[in-house]
């Protein structure tokens, strides 16, 4: 274990619709929680990595500003971005910095204040989330791209809108238990099925909500981890992959090839198989995204993801509990903070500190964090 990398501190702000503070104050909330969790002071940290999707920031080059506010001068800081998967890309970067011996302890801070810009500005940026030469000119949205994947999954495998609704029912059940989630109401099938289409076949309740929020993960070398009083959670496997920005460059729409490749790498590095995973957090920005994740991660054979949710195998008491913190569907999705929030949940599970959503005896956990519609994919396997 001498050359291994551990997570020794995790923190997250509440995810809310409109945060009443600045981005530096928002970032501080997660940072304070993670540092108190790790029992560290600022002099213990060698560097910070700041993760956000900059199109939502009014502040230019926020990393320097956030590092100053966190008291992390003169340590180096820099920004990492891969839209919705920014903070797990930051985690991978921190892992490499520690593994190389350059640093002993690094803070990965993810934040997004999506309400920083007006709704009109947000709508304008939404259209430019696609290839601006060849796809944005037709009026594209994130829901539309995931909807085309849902349609392809339905056509290829016979999955239904009811199957997707079952995923939201699960998310709502666990979201009620998560004090940091933006959406904490119960949702029944009828209400989900009756909600309006956003982009067919995806309806309002198939989509996660925008939110403001922050997350912070403290990574450390094995030697540094020994000085901390918390139980270290080890990073056992890391996988990252990309797929074409243009949707026309994909071979299939019934899954995300980048996620499949990232999972393959992570399992290989950890010398593990899908059945070795005790608990998982997957990127459910839309219900169809969670369903595809079941298959891309190998929890179900291609085309059989719907059976997992129909048989409640991804509930707390099921074969492979997924998103038992409510997922993005309940927590909300503050772009740059999302991956760190997923990692925090798994770390709590592996420490046995997950309270009402604790998976009994969980020893190995997985995070699946996707940027764009599978443009970027990160899979992380952790163990206690």
């Amino acid at each position: 274990m001498a050359n291994d990398v551990a997570i020794i501190g995790v923190g997250q702000s509440n995810f809310v619709r409109g945060y009443e503070g600045s981005i530096r104050e928002l970032s501080f909330e997660a940072y304070r929680e993670a540092m108190q969790d790790a029992g560290l002071t600022r002099d213990d940290l060698d560097a910070s990595i700041i993760c956000s999707a900059p199109e939502y920031d009014k502040q230019r080059s926020p990393s320097g500003l956030i590092a100053e506010y966190l008291g992390l001068n003169p340590q180096p800081t820099f920004a990492v971005e891969s839209v919705c998967s920014s903070s797990t890309t930051g985690l991978k970067t921190a892992y490499a910095l520690i593994k190389s011996g350059l640093h002993q302890a690094v803070a990965v801070v993810g934040f997004q204040k999506m309400s920083e810009i007006s709704s009109a500005d947000s709508q304008e940026r939404m259209g430019r989330g696609a290839d601006i030469m060849w796809e944005s000119p037709f009026g594209t949205t994130m829901p539309a791209y995931y909807a085309m994947h849902a349609r392809a999954h339905f056509d290829t495998y016979g999955t239904t809108e009811e199957d997707l609704a079952l995923i939201r029912v699960k998310a709502a059940k666990y979201g009620q238990l998560n004090e940091k989630a933006v959406y904490r109401k119960d949702l029944v099938m009828d209400k989900i099925m009756e909600s309006d289409y956003v982009s067919s076949p995806l309806k309002r309740f198939d989509c996660c909500a925008n939110a403001d929020g922050s997350s912070c993960i403290i990574l450390a070398s094995a030697e540094k981890a020994k000085q901390s009083s918390v139980q270290p959670v080890w990073i056992l496997g890391l996988g990252s992959a990309t797929a074409s920005y243009s949707v026309t460059g994909r071979n299939t729409y019934a899954g995300l090839e980048s996620a499949r490749e990232a999972a393959r790498q992570a399992y290989r590095m950890a010398s593990m198989e899908p059945q070795d995973i005790d608990v998982a957090e997957v990127h459910d920005c839309f219900t169809i995204a969670e369903l595809m994740a079941y298959e891309n991660l190998g929890f179900a054979e291609p085309g059989r993801g719907a059976e997992l949710i129909r048989n409640r195998e991804t509930y707390l008491e099921g074969k492979i509990p997924v998103n038992v913190d409510g997922g993005l569907l309940s927590k909300g999705h503050p772009i740059g903070a999302t991956g760190g929030s997923q990692v925090r949940t798994i770390v709590q599970q592996l420490r046995g500190e997950a309270g009402k959503i604790q998976v009994p005896g969980a020893k190995t956990g997985l995070v699946h964090n996707i940027g764009g519609v599978g443009i970027y994919a990160n899979v992380i396997i952790m163990g206690s």
């Binding site: 259209g127 037709f138 956003v198």
Partner: protein
């Protein structure tokens, strides 16, 4: 210049592939083919990522294809608000895939994966040059 004329609303003015818009205006959809290694690209590219050549030729795409996937959007980004709802789709032509809108008046109930479609160039009322999918006649 020239690429600002492409689509319902263009976000790019300059591209070495702007001739695509001129071909489209004349009624044809073109892809690029690497003059050195023969790889075909759609969307068109000015540079070959396989052999690093920039000697590209334009090749005409047969406008008869098959629908791959589609969605009807009820929300739109800035600049497209007055168009909703509209159908976005991906269709396959000669081993390339094309993304665009389906002709107005069609809903998801009229469409199915695998149905034969035609890709039709069109000039929008404001003079923008675009294309859309229609059922093959």
């Amino acid at each position: 210049m020239g690429f600002e004329r492409f689509g319902r609303l263009s976000f790019t003015a300059q591209s070495k592939t702007a001739d695509f818009v001129d071909f489209l205006e004349k009624g044809d959809l073109y892809a690029t083919r690497c003059g050195d290694c023969g790889l075909i690209f759609f969307p068109p590219r000015a540079d070959c990522c396989s052999c690093l050549s920039s000697a590209m030729d334009w090749v005409k795409v047969d406008p008869r294809g098959k629908l791959v996937s589609f969605t009807r959007s009820y929300f739109a980004p800035t600049g497209f608000e007055n168009d909703v709802p509209y159908v976005l789709a991906v269709a396959e032509f000669d081993n390339i895939k094309v993304f665009g809108r389906f002709k107005e008046g069609y809903t998801e109930d009229d469409l199915s994966a695998g149905m034969e479609v035609a890709l039709k160039p069109l000039t929008l009322p404001d003079g923008q040059i675009s294309y859309q999918f229609e059922p093959a006649s």
